[in-house]
């Protein structure tokens, strides 16, 4: 029920965004998150819930280092 999928914003028109999922284009609501074309976003039930950030490898690496030392 919390199925959400990452996609790429192609264009915005007011509250509606056109989002691409591996070649499938769908309209989604962009009212809850400020987005711009090119953003990678998380879409749940037809609504954009978050802009996905791309550079999290460093923070994940340091968390894993912490775990390994336990």
């Amino acid at each position: 029920m919390c199925v959400a999928l990452p996609g790429k914003v192609l264009k915005i028109d007011g509250r509606r965004a056109t989002v691409d999922f591996s070649g499938n284009t769908v309209e989604a609501d962009a009212g809850l998150v400020p987005v711009k074309p090119g953003d990678n976003v998380l879409v749940h039930a037809g609504c954009i819930l978050q802009v996905l950030s791309q550079n999290e490898n460093d923070s994940l690496r340091s968390l894993f280092r912490e775990l390994e030392e336990l």
């Binding site: 199925v3 999922f21 591996s22 070649g23 499938n24 769908v26």
Partner: protein, 328 residues
């Protein structure tokens, strides 16, 4: 009990309906084998099959109901080891159906029949009240050469399981239009004559074959596992699915293993012939993504297991419930 949409899905509910009502009433040993066509003695062995086509829309990316009704029946004959020869077709037309559309459908049927090397030799037309719908039944006749014995119960330990190409294309093409999802997925509706002929001519020992239609790969492999009482092991990373179809499935929460195709087949072959068989498929017009996707691992228990890309294991069951309506 009332007929529900689930009875038409091609999965468990359909099998139960067939067993409970039709199989019991008709009480015929060949019918009860539930192969894709009935192989009968006669002048040589005659294979007979029938199928009805109720797809909407009538024209979809990659095909139309005309191409579909020829391919579906031709492929069913092929899957039982027969060389397809003749088709009949019966039309039930609702008032309001467009004659120009019918012409396009008929031309498509003729073209596809020519490609498949079959003749349409009999037909019928009926009209009923309604709003323009078109329904077509095709029955097919073919001949099974001596020495050919193809059937689900023939799967043996060690056999290779082959899939001729990517899953879900037809299903996704039809559903995309209905759900308003834009993409360039096209139906893979195609006759598999070339591919099967190539394998036979190469001497591939084919133990079982089935085309992947409603109910998907999951349903078919479970039918094999059940008929042969064997355990089939699959490798998910080897199962071809196009990125667009995968994305489509992600959006709707569908599993490609449950989705229907109209131009893909599964073949269970002797292990020594696997590479040759894949080669035949890949060289043929509709098999460029063919792959070995698994093996018959053991006899004695009936199961289909899948190794996941991260190295886990899960059971693959047949499609439960409704699947999706009117895709073929």
């Amino acid at each position: 009990m009332k007929i529900t949409m689930a009875h038409g899905s091609g999965g468990e509910s359909t099998s139960e309906l067939i067993a409970d009502i039709f199989e019991k009433s008709f009480n015929d040993p060949v019918l009860s084998k539930m192969e894709d066509s009935a192989v009968l003695p006669g002048a040589g062995r005659i294979a007979v099959t029938t199928d009805s086509f109720v797809v909407t829309p009538l024209f979809f990316p990659g095909g139309d109901i005309g191409r579909l009704c020829v391919c579906g029946t031709v492929n069913d004959l092929l899957m039982s080891g027969a060389d397809p020869e003749y088709l009949t077709c019966g039309f039930i037309l609702e008032e309001g159906a467009d004659t120009e559309d019918l012409r396009k459908i008929a031309v498509s049927m003729s073209r596809t029949a020519r490609e498949a090397g079959v003749r349409i030799v009999a037909g019928d037309t009926k009209v009923v009240e309604g709003s323009g719908g078109v329904y077509i039944n095709t029955a097919g006749v073919g001949f099974v050469p001596d020495g050919i014995n193809v059937g689900a119960s023939n799967c043996r330990e060690g056999d290779a399981v082959l899939l001729s190409g990517s899953l879900g294309d037809h299903h996704a093409a039809i559903l995309s239009k209905r759900m308003g999802i834009e993409n360039t997925i096209v139906s893979d509706c195609a006759p598999l004559v070339g591919m099967v002929d190539a394998m036979k001519r190469s001497g591939v020992r084919i133990h079982a074959m089935r085309d992947v239609t409603r109910g998907g790969l999951a349903t078919i492999l479970n039918e094999f596992a059940s008929a042969a009482v064997c355990r089939i092991g699959l490798d998910e990373s080897k199962i071809p699915v196009s990125p667009q179809v995968r994305g489509f499935c992600g959006i709707l929460g569908l599993d490609p293993l449950d989705m229907g195709n109209e131009g893909k087949m599964v073949a269970v072959v002797a292990p020594e012939d696997a590479e040759r068989a894949v080669g035949c498929m890949r060289k043929s017009r509709y098999g460029k993504n063919a792959a070995v996707i698994g093996r018959v691992e053991a006899e004695g228990e009936s199961a289909v297991l899948l190794k996941t890309p991260i190295g886990g294991t899960r059971v693959v069951g047949p499609l439960y419930g409704e699947g999706l309506p009117r895709i073929c």
